[in-house]
Symmetry: C2
Subunit: 301 residues, 2 copies
């Protein structure tokens, strides 16, 4: 396909980076070893599912593709380092390719990520963007989903719900926040909210073999959830618990570390939303505890 | 999208691997550092361009997706280590997802690659598979495209042309061959044949700022090129020079190392096809030298 040499173009625009001794002009990018555990994550976004290209434009699609991958590195409290980008462009999509890359670079530059290679294809289908992001664990190691314990306090890094009103396109991955938290306390388990607060918390619970109770009154409901609730007729809390793509972090720490975070928060926006228990996922509302589905739906008793 | 938890499924099928201290149940895979330079490559394949899903099946698509990435690691004489897989599945594509993964594992297992994570999406479009493969350079370092010098001898690892007759779906990435060659001689420059012998050699020449003369009579023309030529009416050599997706390696070495390779070939199938010169890409045929286009087309003088 002699259409658009994305690599040559990319190469012409990627400034020299000391971490990248060899540029993307070769079959592989070559990265200097760091001696730290390597983090690898990949996210593929499609037109019509993750964004509507005709409405938001390719640059926004590129930004989101990089941001959601950064959010996965943030969830492990890692330092993002380098990315490769694979795209399937709709026919005649040369400018689409350039705009995607500009969007990817917007976010990559903000977080110090070197875009070191990629693969561009033209095809008869709609736009697909797949970013694979590499990162490094800090000296404190990666934070997994599996370390939560009964008695842990449960925190979220910011308000959630209703991201579909527009925020889902321009998430701010909590990379810096995660690193500050990781430095300040012993993070037992962490995840980013992509599927929804309840669903992603449930991933932690499954990996950690424990449960959690969320305090309904404590959940920071985003203004977008309140607005969206007017249209859907659902309670704003249901959107806060069930909506996806907030890209805030949910994490657990010991009660002692939790108290320290409340006393001297290392990052803004932290909210304690509950505690871990032996088993189950529960919502504490009006003094009663009811089972909470990972979809965010509250079972009536 | 609560459709098919590819990660959970993948995890259930990936045997424990000592290089992977943390499984794909987390937001990122975590790989132990090796201290060697890291190689990263990504290739995205689409239904209708790289394979016809309805004709070849998803398992073949998965095999090809892994093989073409392995070929890029081979081109750097690297050791492949771990892969992540991102797919966009057509509606109702659960079995397609499983078959793709089986195909990926067929080839990954053969080359000792751990599949450590992925991202599965369903959408309204056709099948897209993006594999990102990591590898390590050996102690001799990665082989780049940029090291060819005038006077170098030019080799190819096997016969080329006509892969579209079927071979393009089941390439054998020359990973082991590249490592053996790298161990035996000083490889100046290397690339795998994905675009075509002339086109990929031309990438070496561009990166190395030199030229090359190919001996027409020396080019190992694959039987598929001969068969294909009957249908297209083009000379078999034109297919050998111009057809893509052979995934053999083209490389250059000093004349002394070239003689050593002919005397004691460390791998089967090696053919000397020409030599590097100061500039230009040329075909030596019937005693005369004519300019050769990277497309494989021979300019009449």
């Amino acid at each position: 396909m002699p259409e658009f040499d994305y690599i040559a173009w990319l190469r012409s625009r990627t400034p020299a980076d000391p971490r990248v001794p060899v540029g993307p002009g070769d079959d592989c990018a070559v990265l200097a070893p760091s001696g730290r555990p390597l983090l690898v994550t990949t996210d593929l976004l499609t037109d019509g599912t993750d964004f509507i290209l005709s409405e938001v434009g390719a640059r926004a699609a590129g930004r989101k593709a990089m941001a959601v991958n950064l959010s996965d590195i943030a969830a492990m409290a890692g330092v993002p380092t380098a990315a490769v980008v694979a795209v399937a462009l709709p026919a005649g999509g040369r400018s689409v390719g350039e705009e995607i890359y500009d969007g990817i670079r917007d976010v990559a530059d903000e977080f110090g990520v070197a875009v070191v290679g990629g693969d561009t294809n033209s095809w008869a289908g709609a736009l697909v963007v797949a970013v694979t992001l590499l990162g490094e664990a800090t000296a404190r190691g990666p934070v997994l989903r599996s370390g939560a314990k009964p008695g842990d306090w449960l925190f979220v890094t910011g308000p959630v719900g209703g991201s579909i009103r527009g925020r889902h396109l321009t998430p701010t991955p909590r990379v810096r926040e995660a690193l500050r938290l990781h430095n300040a306390v012993d993070l037992h388990a962490m995840i980013d909210i992509s599927d929804g607060l309840a669903a992603d918390l449930n991933h932690i619970l499954e990996e950690s073999c424990c449960g959690a109770v969320i305090d309904a009154a404590a959940v920071p409901v985003h203004a977008d959830a309140v607005e969206l609730a007017k249209a859907t007729g659902k309670p704003p809390l249901a959107h806060a618990l069930g909506d996806g793509e907030d890209f805030e972090l949910v994490f657990t720490v010991s009660a002692a570390d939790g108290e320290r975070l409340l006393r001297e928060p290392p990052v803004a926006g932290l909210v304690k939303i509950g505690e871990c228990v032996a088993a189950g996922l529960w919502l504490n509302e009006g003094g009663g505890r009811r089972p909470l589905a990972p979809t965010g739906w509250v079972h009536e008793l």
